[in-house]
Protein backbone atom coordinates (compact mmCIF):
# COMPACT_ATOMS: atom_id res chain seq x y z
CA UNK A 1 0.00 0.00 0.00
CA UNK A 2 2.70 2.38 1.10
CA UNK A 3 4.69 1.28 -1.88
CA UNK A 4 2.11 2.47 -4.37
CA UNK A 5 1.43 5.67 -2.47
CA UNK A 6 5.08 6.61 -2.30
CA UNK A 7 5.52 6.23 -6.04
CA UNK A 8 3.36 8.74 -7.79
CA UNK A 9 6.20 9.80 -10.01
CA UNK A 10 9.12 8.14 -11.67
CA UNK A 11 11.66 7.21 -9.08
CA UNK A 12 14.87 9.19 -8.98
CA UNK A 13 16.99 6.17 -9.69
CA UNK A 14 14.85 5.35 -12.73
CA UNK A 15 15.08 8.93 -13.90
CA UNK A 16 18.85 8.87 -14.02
CA UNK A 17 18.75 5.55 -15.86
CA UNK A 18 16.28 6.96 -18.40
CA UNK A 19 18.42 10.05 -18.84
CA UNK A 20 21.40 7.80 -19.56
CA UNK A 21 19.49 5.82 -22.15
CA UNK A 22 18.24 9.02 -23.78
CA UNK A 23 21.75 10.43 -24.11
CA UNK A 24 22.80 7.14 -25.67
CA UNK A 25 20.02 6.84 -28.26
CA UNK A 26 18.29 10.20 -28.28
CA UNK A 27 19.91 11.69 -31.35
CA UNK A 28 19.52 8.66 -33.61
CA UNK A 29 16.50 8.34 -35.87
CA UNK A 30 14.20 5.75 -34.37
CA UNK A 31 15.98 6.21 -31.06
CA UNK A 32 12.67 6.29 -29.26
CA UNK A 33 12.22 2.57 -29.89
CA UNK A 34 15.56 1.71 -28.30
CA UNK A 35 14.86 4.03 -25.39
CA UNK A 36 11.48 2.46 -24.65
CA UNK A 37 12.90 -1.03 -25.13
CA UNK A 38 15.69 -0.48 -22.60
CA UNK A 39 13.35 1.08 -20.07
CA UNK A 40 10.84 -1.75 -20.34
CA UNK A 41 13.59 -4.36 -20.06
CA UNK A 42 14.80 -2.85 -16.79
CA UNK A 43 11.35 -2.52 -15.24
CA UNK A 44 10.46 -5.13 -12.64
CA UNK A 45 7.10 -5.82 -14.23
CA UNK A 46 8.38 -5.36 -17.80
CA UNK A 47 6.07 -2.53 -18.68
CA UNK A 48 5.97 1.18 -19.45
CA UNK A 49 3.89 3.19 -17.00
CA UNK A 50 2.18 6.46 -18.01
CA UNK A 51 4.61 8.30 -15.72
CA UNK A 52 7.57 6.82 -17.58
CA UNK A 53 6.06 7.73 -20.97
CA UNK A 54 5.50 11.29 -19.77
CA UNK A 55 9.04 11.50 -18.47
CA UNK A 56 10.51 10.17 -21.74
CA UNK A 57 8.39 12.65 -23.69
CA UNK A 58 9.52 15.62 -21.59
CA UNK A 59 13.18 14.64 -21.77
CA UNK A 60 13.35 13.77 -25.47
CA UNK A 61 11.02 16.50 -26.69
CA UNK A 62 9.01 13.90 -28.60
CA UNK A 63 5.32 14.78 -28.20
CA UNK A 64 3.48 12.64 -25.68
CA UNK A 65 0.93 11.61 -28.31
CA UNK A 66 3.74 10.34 -30.55
CA UNK A 67 5.35 8.37 -27.70
CA UNK A 68 1.98 6.81 -26.93
CA UNK A 69 1.35 6.07 -30.60
CA UNK A 70 4.66 4.23 -30.88
CA UNK A 71 4.16 2.35 -27.60
CA UNK A 72 0.70 1.14 -28.67
CA UNK A 73 1.66 0.30 -32.26
CA UNK A 74 4.29 -2.31 -31.38
CA UNK A 75 2.96 -5.33 -29.53
CA UNK A 76 6.38 -5.68 -27.92
CA UNK A 77 5.67 -2.80 -25.57
CA UNK A 78 3.49 -3.47 -22.55
CA UNK A 79 1.47 -0.71 -20.96
CA UNK A 80 0.25 -3.00 -18.18
CA UNK A 81 2.40 -4.71 -15.53
CA UNK A 82 3.40 -8.18 -16.71
CA UNK A 83 3.52 -11.37 -14.69
CA UNK A 84 6.71 -13.02 -13.46
CA UNK A 85 6.26 -15.82 -15.97
CA UNK A 86 5.06 -15.43 -19.53
CA UNK A 87 3.12 -18.05 -21.42
CA UNK A 88 3.06 -17.09 -25.06
CA UNK A 89 0.79 -19.10 -27.34
CA UNK A 90 1.13 -18.94 -31.09
CA UNK A 91 -2.08 -18.14 -32.92
CA UNK A 92 -0.63 -18.32 -36.40
CA UNK A 93 -2.33 -20.34 -39.10
CA UNK A 94 -0.27 -23.51 -38.70
CA UNK A 95 -0.65 -23.54 -34.92
CA UNK A 96 -4.32 -22.71 -35.18
CA UNK A 97 -4.85 -25.67 -37.49
CA UNK A 98 -3.16 -27.86 -34.90
CA UNK A 99 -5.36 -26.71 -32.07
CA UNK A 100 -3.74 -23.68 -30.49
CA UNK A 101 -7.13 -22.24 -29.58
CA UNK A 102 -7.74 -25.14 -27.22
CA UNK A 103 -4.29 -24.62 -25.73
CA UNK A 104 -5.03 -20.96 -25.17
CA UNK A 105 -8.38 -21.70 -23.56
CA UNK A 106 -6.73 -24.32 -21.39
CA UNK A 107 -3.98 -22.00 -20.25
CA UNK A 108 -6.55 -19.35 -19.39
CA UNK A 109 -8.68 -21.87 -17.51
CA UNK A 110 -5.67 -23.23 -15.65
CA UNK A 111 -4.51 -19.79 -14.51
CA UNK A 112 -7.99 -18.46 -13.85
CA UNK A 113 -7.95 -15.74 -16.51
CA UNK A 114 -10.95 -14.36 -18.31
CA UNK A 115 -11.23 -12.33 -21.43
CA UNK A 116 -12.70 -8.98 -20.57
CA UNK A 117 -13.92 -8.77 -24.12
CA UNK A 118 -13.52 -11.20 -26.92
CA UNK A 119 -11.40 -9.36 -29.42
CA UNK A 120 -11.52 -12.25 -31.87
CA UNK A 121 -8.19 -12.91 -33.55
CA UNK A 122 -6.57 -9.83 -32.06
CA UNK A 123 -3.59 -10.03 -29.82
CA UNK A 124 -4.31 -10.82 -26.26
CA UNK A 125 -2.40 -10.20 -23.06
CA UNK A 126 -3.85 -11.26 -19.73
CA UNK A 127 -2.12 -11.18 -16.37
CA UNK A 128 -3.14 -12.94 -13.17
CA UNK A 129 -4.03 -10.58 -10.30
CA UNK A 130 -1.05 -11.82 -8.26
CA UNK A 131 1.27 -10.85 -11.15
CA UNK A 132 2.67 -14.36 -11.43
CA UNK A 133 1.59 -15.27 -14.96
CA UNK A 134 0.89 -13.44 -18.17
CA UNK A 135 -0.76 -15.25 -21.04
CA UNK A 136 -0.31 -13.66 -24.44
CA UNK A 137 -0.77 -14.58 -28.03
CA UNK A 138 1.54 -13.99 -30.93
CA UNK A 139 0.94 -14.17 -34.67
CA UNK A 140 3.83 -16.50 -35.50
CA UNK A 141 7.08 -17.72 -33.95
CA UNK A 142 8.41 -18.86 -37.29
CA UNK A 143 8.45 -22.42 -35.99
CA UNK A 144 5.47 -23.66 -37.96
CA UNK A 145 7.01 -27.13 -38.46
CA UNK A 146 6.73 -27.57 -34.69
CA UNK A 147 3.11 -26.44 -34.48
CA UNK A 148 1.46 -25.92 -32.12
CA UNK A 149 4.13 -23.82 -30.44
CA UNK A 150 4.04 -22.45 -26.90
CA UNK A 151 6.71 -20.28 -25.35
CA UNK A 152 7.09 -20.32 -21.58
CA UNK A 153 9.60 -17.91 -20.07
CA UNK A 154 11.39 -17.44 -23.39
CA UNK A 155 11.79 -21.16 -23.98
CA UNK A 156 10.01 -22.54 -27.00
CA UNK A 157 8.13 -25.83 -26.78
CA UNK A 158 7.03 -27.49 -30.02
CA UNK A 159 4.28 -30.03 -30.79
CA UNK A 160 2.73 -29.22 -27.45
CA UNK A 161 -0.39 -30.90 -26.20
CA UNK A 162 -2.57 -29.93 -23.29
CA UNK A 163 -0.85 -32.16 -20.76
CA UNK A 164 2.64 -31.05 -21.68
CA UNK A 165 1.72 -27.40 -21.48
CA UNK A 166 0.19 -27.94 -18.05
CA UNK A 167 3.36 -29.72 -16.92
CA UNK A 168 5.58 -26.86 -18.09
CA UNK A 169 3.39 -24.25 -16.47
CA UNK A 170 3.28 -26.28 -13.24
CA UNK A 171 7.03 -26.53 -13.22
CA UNK A 172 7.63 -22.77 -13.34
CA UNK A 173 4.74 -22.01 -11.00
CA UNK A 174 6.27 -21.25 -7.62
CA UNK A 175 3.01 -20.41 -5.91
CA UNK A 176 2.11 -22.60 -2.92
CA UNK A 177 5.43 -24.36 -3.04
CA UNK A 178 7.97 -24.38 -0.22
CA UNK A 179 11.18 -22.96 -1.58
Amino acid sequence: MLDTLARPQTELEDQSFIDGVITEFGSKPGGLLSILERIQERNRHKYLSPEVLKFVSSRTGVPLSRVYSVATFYSFFNLEPQGKHTVCICRGTACHARGSRDLLNNAKLMLGLHNQEDGGADKLSLTTPDKEFTVRTVACFGQCALAPVVEVDRKIYGRVNEREMRKVIDRVDSRGKVP
Binding site: P50, P63, L64, S65, Y68, T72, F73
Partner: protein
Protein backbone atom coordinates in the same frame (compact mmCIF):
# COMPACT_ATOMS: atom_id res chain seq x y z
CA UNK B 1 13.67 25.19 -67.41
CA UNK B 2 15.23 22.65 -65.12
CA UNK B 3 12.61 22.71 -62.40
CA UNK B 4 9.72 22.36 -64.80
CA UNK B 5 8.63 18.88 -65.85
CA UNK B 6 6.29 17.76 -68.59
CA UNK B 7 3.94 14.86 -68.13
CA UNK B 8 0.84 13.46 -69.73
CA UNK B 9 -2.35 13.19 -67.73
CA UNK B 10 -5.30 11.46 -69.42
CA UNK B 11 -3.75 12.15 -72.82
CA UNK B 12 -3.18 15.85 -72.17
CA UNK B 13 0.26 17.39 -71.88
CA UNK B 14 0.65 19.12 -68.55
CA UNK B 15 3.50 21.17 -67.14
CA UNK B 16 4.27 20.93 -63.46
CA UNK B 17 6.86 22.07 -60.98
CA UNK B 18 9.49 19.49 -60.13
CA UNK B 19 8.76 18.01 -56.71
CA UNK B 20 5.05 18.66 -57.00
CA UNK B 21 2.69 15.78 -56.33
CA UNK B 22 0.74 14.14 -59.13
CA UNK B 23 -2.44 15.14 -57.30
CA UNK B 24 -1.58 18.84 -57.27
CA UNK B 25 -0.45 18.76 -60.90
CA UNK B 26 -3.62 17.00 -62.02
CA UNK B 27 -5.90 19.26 -60.03
CA UNK B 28 -4.11 22.33 -61.39
CA UNK B 29 -4.88 20.96 -64.85
CA UNK B 30 -8.55 20.74 -63.93
CA UNK B 31 -8.72 16.99 -63.38
CA UNK B 32 -10.89 15.44 -60.72
CA UNK B 33 -9.13 13.00 -58.43
CA UNK B 34 -11.08 11.99 -55.34
CA UNK B 35 -9.36 12.25 -51.95
CA UNK B 36 -10.29 12.45 -48.29
CA UNK B 37 -7.05 12.61 -46.33
CA UNK B 38 -5.39 15.31 -48.43
CA UNK B 39 -5.30 18.93 -47.29
CA UNK B 40 -3.15 21.28 -49.32
CA UNK B 41 -0.30 22.52 -47.16
CA UNK B 42 -0.21 19.52 -44.84
CA UNK B 43 2.18 16.60 -45.34
CA UNK B 44 0.55 14.05 -47.64
CA UNK B 45 0.32 10.61 -46.06
CA UNK B 46 -1.68 8.52 -48.52
CA UNK B 47 -4.04 7.29 -45.82
CA UNK B 48 -7.39 7.16 -47.62
CA UNK B 49 -6.21 5.50 -50.86
CA UNK B 50 -8.92 7.24 -52.87
CA UNK B 51 -6.54 9.21 -55.07
CA UNK B 52 -5.07 6.10 -56.70
CA UNK B 53 -4.04 6.71 -60.31
CA UNK B 54 -2.45 4.52 -62.95
CA UNK B 55 1.11 5.33 -63.97
CA UNK B 56 2.32 3.85 -67.22
CA UNK B 57 5.05 1.29 -66.58
CA UNK B 58 4.03 0.58 -62.99
CA UNK B 59 1.76 -2.44 -62.67
CA UNK B 60 -0.07 -1.30 -59.53
CA UNK B 61 -2.02 1.91 -58.94
CA UNK B 62 -0.17 4.68 -57.12
CA UNK B 63 -1.53 7.24 -54.64
CA UNK B 64 -1.45 10.59 -56.46
CA UNK B 65 -0.86 12.59 -53.28
CA UNK B 66 2.44 10.93 -52.33
CA UNK B 67 3.75 10.34 -55.85
CA UNK B 68 5.92 13.16 -57.15
CA UNK B 69 5.80 14.17 -60.80
CA UNK B 70 8.58 13.08 -63.08
CA UNK B 71 9.45 14.15 -66.56
CA UNK B 72 7.70 12.05 -69.18
CA UNK B 73 5.27 10.42 -66.76
CA UNK B 74 2.07 9.11 -68.36
CA UNK B 75 -0.84 9.05 -65.94
CA UNK B 76 -4.45 8.09 -66.24
CA UNK B 77 -6.86 9.27 -63.58
CA UNK B 78 -9.95 7.61 -64.95
CA UNK B 79 -10.42 3.96 -65.78
CA UNK B 80 -12.89 1.22 -65.04
CA UNK B 81 -10.44 -0.43 -62.70
CA UNK B 82 -9.77 2.78 -60.77
CA UNK B 83 -13.48 3.49 -60.43
CA UNK B 84 -14.05 0.02 -59.05
CA UNK B 85 -11.12 0.37 -56.64
CA UNK B 86 -12.29 3.76 -55.43
CA UNK B 87 -15.83 2.54 -54.90
CA UNK B 88 -14.53 -0.43 -52.98
CA UNK B 89 -12.35 1.74 -50.76
CA UNK B 90 -15.34 3.99 -50.13
CA UNK B 91 -17.45 0.99 -49.13
CA UNK B 92 -14.74 -0.26 -46.80
CA UNK B 93 -14.52 3.17 -45.19
CA UNK B 94 -18.27 3.19 -44.66
CA UNK B 95 -18.45 -0.35 -43.30
CA UNK B 96 -15.56 0.09 -40.88
CA UNK B 97 -17.34 2.30 -38.36
CA UNK B 98 -20.86 3.51 -37.59
CA UNK B 99 -21.60 6.17 -40.16
CA UNK B 100 -25.24 7.08 -39.67
CA UNK B 101 -25.88 10.21 -41.72
CA UNK B 102 -29.42 10.75 -40.45
CA UNK B 103 -28.22 11.58 -36.94
CA UNK B 104 -24.89 13.20 -37.83
CA UNK B 105 -24.00 16.83 -37.20
CA UNK B 106 -22.24 16.96 -40.55
CA UNK B 107 -25.09 15.53 -42.62
CA UNK B 108 -25.26 17.52 -45.83
CA UNK B 109 -21.79 19.01 -45.50
CA UNK B 110 -19.72 15.88 -44.97
CA UNK B 111 -16.81 15.11 -47.26
CA UNK B 112 -17.26 11.38 -46.76
CA UNK B 113 -20.92 11.59 -47.72
CA UNK B 114 -20.19 13.87 -50.69
CA UNK B 115 -17.43 11.59 -51.92
CA UNK B 116 -19.63 8.51 -51.64
CA UNK B 117 -22.33 10.10 -53.77
CA UNK B 118 -19.78 11.49 -56.21
CA UNK B 119 -18.29 8.03 -56.68
CA UNK B 120 -21.73 6.51 -57.08
CA UNK B 121 -21.58 4.41 -53.93
CA UNK B 122 -25.17 3.73 -52.96
CA UNK B 123 -24.64 0.78 -50.65
CA UNK B 124 -21.88 -1.39 -49.22
CA UNK B 125 -21.13 -4.85 -50.55
CA UNK B 126 -19.31 -5.55 -47.31
CA UNK B 127 -21.03 -6.31 -44.03
CA UNK B 128 -20.86 -3.46 -41.53
CA UNK B 129 -18.59 -4.08 -38.57
CA UNK B 130 -20.69 -2.14 -36.05
CA UNK B 131 -17.82 -1.63 -33.59
CA UNK B 132 -18.61 -0.36 -30.12
CA UNK B 133 -16.84 2.97 -29.92
CA UNK B 134 -16.84 5.76 -27.36
CA UNK B 135 -17.75 9.42 -27.75
CA UNK B 136 -15.48 11.92 -25.99
CA UNK B 137 -17.47 14.96 -24.91
CA UNK B 138 -15.07 16.01 -22.16
CA UNK B 139 -13.75 19.02 -24.05
CA UNK B 140 -15.50 22.31 -23.22
CA UNK B 141 -15.85 23.38 -26.87
CA UNK B 142 -15.66 20.29 -29.06
CA UNK B 143 -16.81 16.69 -29.30
CA UNK B 144 -14.96 13.66 -30.65
CA UNK B 145 -17.14 10.85 -31.95
CA UNK B 146 -15.00 7.83 -32.87
CA UNK B 147 -17.95 6.29 -34.69
CA UNK B 148 -17.58 8.84 -37.48
CA UNK B 149 -13.78 8.87 -37.71
CA UNK B 150 -12.14 7.58 -40.89
CA UNK B 151 -8.56 7.82 -39.54
CA UNK B 152 -7.48 10.23 -42.27
CA UNK B 153 -5.08 11.88 -39.75
CA UNK B 154 -5.92 15.38 -40.96
CA UNK B 155 -6.42 16.45 -37.34
CA UNK B 156 -3.15 14.80 -36.32
CA UNK B 157 -1.24 16.67 -39.01
CA UNK B 158 -2.89 20.05 -38.60
CA UNK B 159 -2.31 19.87 -34.84
CA UNK B 160 1.36 18.97 -35.30
CA UNK B 161 2.25 21.03 -38.35
CA UNK B 162 0.18 24.18 -38.04
CA UNK B 163 -0.70 24.55 -34.37
CA UNK B 164 2.38 22.71 -33.13
CA UNK B 165 0.50 21.31 -30.16
CA UNK B 166 0.85 17.63 -31.08
CA UNK B 167 -2.22 16.70 -29.11
CA UNK B 168 -3.52 14.08 -31.53
CA UNK B 169 -2.04 10.85 -32.76
CA UNK B 170 -3.22 7.43 -33.84
CA UNK B 171 -2.87 4.71 -31.24
CA UNK B 172 -2.67 0.96 -31.78
CA UNK B 173 -2.80 -0.42 -35.30
CA UNK B 174 -4.88 -2.19 -37.89
CA UNK B 175 -8.57 -2.44 -37.22
CA UNK B 176 -8.06 -1.38 -33.58
CA UNK B 177 -6.48 1.96 -34.56
CA UNK B 178 -8.06 4.94 -32.91
CA UNK B 179 -7.51 8.64 -32.55
CA UNK B 180 -6.01 9.45 -29.16
CA UNK B 181 -5.28 12.70 -27.33
CA UNK B 182 -1.95 12.57 -25.49
CA UNK B 183 -1.93 9.34 -23.45
CA UNK B 184 -5.41 8.42 -24.68
CA UNK B 185 -6.91 10.43 -21.86
CA UNK B 186 -10.01 12.58 -22.09
CA UNK B 187 -9.63 15.33 -24.64
CA UNK B 188 -10.85 17.82 -22.07
CA UNK B 189 -8.02 16.87 -19.71
CA UNK B 190 -5.34 17.26 -22.36
CA UNK B 191 -2.46 19.46 -21.25
CA UNK B 192 -1.26 20.08 -24.80
CA UNK B 193 -4.55 21.05 -26.46
CA UNK B 194 -4.77 24.78 -27.06
CA UNK B 195 -8.49 24.65 -27.95
CA UNK B 196 -7.72 26.28 -31.30
CA UNK B 197 -10.23 24.12 -33.18
CA UNK B 198 -8.14 23.59 -36.29
CA UNK B 199 -8.59 19.82 -36.01
CA UNK B 200 -12.35 20.34 -36.05
CA UNK B 201 -12.16 22.51 -39.17
CA UNK B 202 -9.86 20.02 -40.87
CA UNK B 203 -11.97 16.95 -40.08
CA UNK B 204 -13.77 15.71 -43.20
CA UNK B 205 -16.61 14.06 -41.29
CA UNK B 206 -18.61 14.70 -38.13
CA UNK B 207 -16.02 12.93 -35.97
CA UNK B 208 -14.73 16.23 -34.65
CA UNK B 209 -17.44 18.81 -34.19
CA UNK B 210 -18.31 21.91 -32.24
CA UNK B 211 -20.25 21.07 -29.10
CA UNK B 212 -23.94 21.80 -29.13
CA UNK B 213 -24.48 21.46 -32.86
CA UNK B 214 -27.58 19.57 -33.88
CA UNK B 215 -28.01 17.32 -36.91
CA UNK B 216 -26.87 19.01 -40.14
CA UNK B 217 -25.66 22.12 -38.30
CA UNK B 218 -21.92 21.51 -38.48
CA UNK B 219 -20.14 23.04 -41.45
CA UNK B 220 -16.37 22.94 -41.75
CA UNK B 221 -13.93 25.44 -43.16
CA UNK B 222 -11.09 23.26 -44.36
CA UNK B 223 -9.98 25.92 -46.84
CA UNK B 224 -9.06 28.24 -43.98
CA UNK B 225 -6.89 25.51 -42.46
CA UNK B 226 -5.32 24.92 -45.85
CA UNK B 227 -4.59 28.63 -46.29
CA UNK B 228 -2.97 28.76 -42.85
CA UNK B 229 -0.88 25.71 -43.64
CA UNK B 230 0.36 27.03 -46.96
CA UNK B 231 0.92 30.54 -45.60
CA UNK B 232 3.25 29.08 -42.99
CA UNK B 233 5.36 27.55 -45.68
CA UNK B 234 3.82 24.13 -45.47
CA UNK B 235 5.18 21.26 -47.48
CA UNK B 236 5.40 21.87 -51.19
CA UNK B 237 3.85 18.54 -52.10
Amino acid sequence: MPNQVKLKIDGEYVEAKAGESVLDAARAAGKFIPSLCHVKGLTPVGACRLCMVEVAGIPRPMPACTTTVQDGMVISTVSEKLTRYRQMIMQLLLSERNHVCAVCVSNGSCELQDMASKLGVTHSEFPYRYPRLPVDASHPRFVLDHNRCILCTRCVRVCAEVEGANTWNIMSRGVTSMLAADLNGNWGDSETCTMCGKCVEACPTGALAVKGKAVEEMTKNTDAVSRLATARGGTQQ
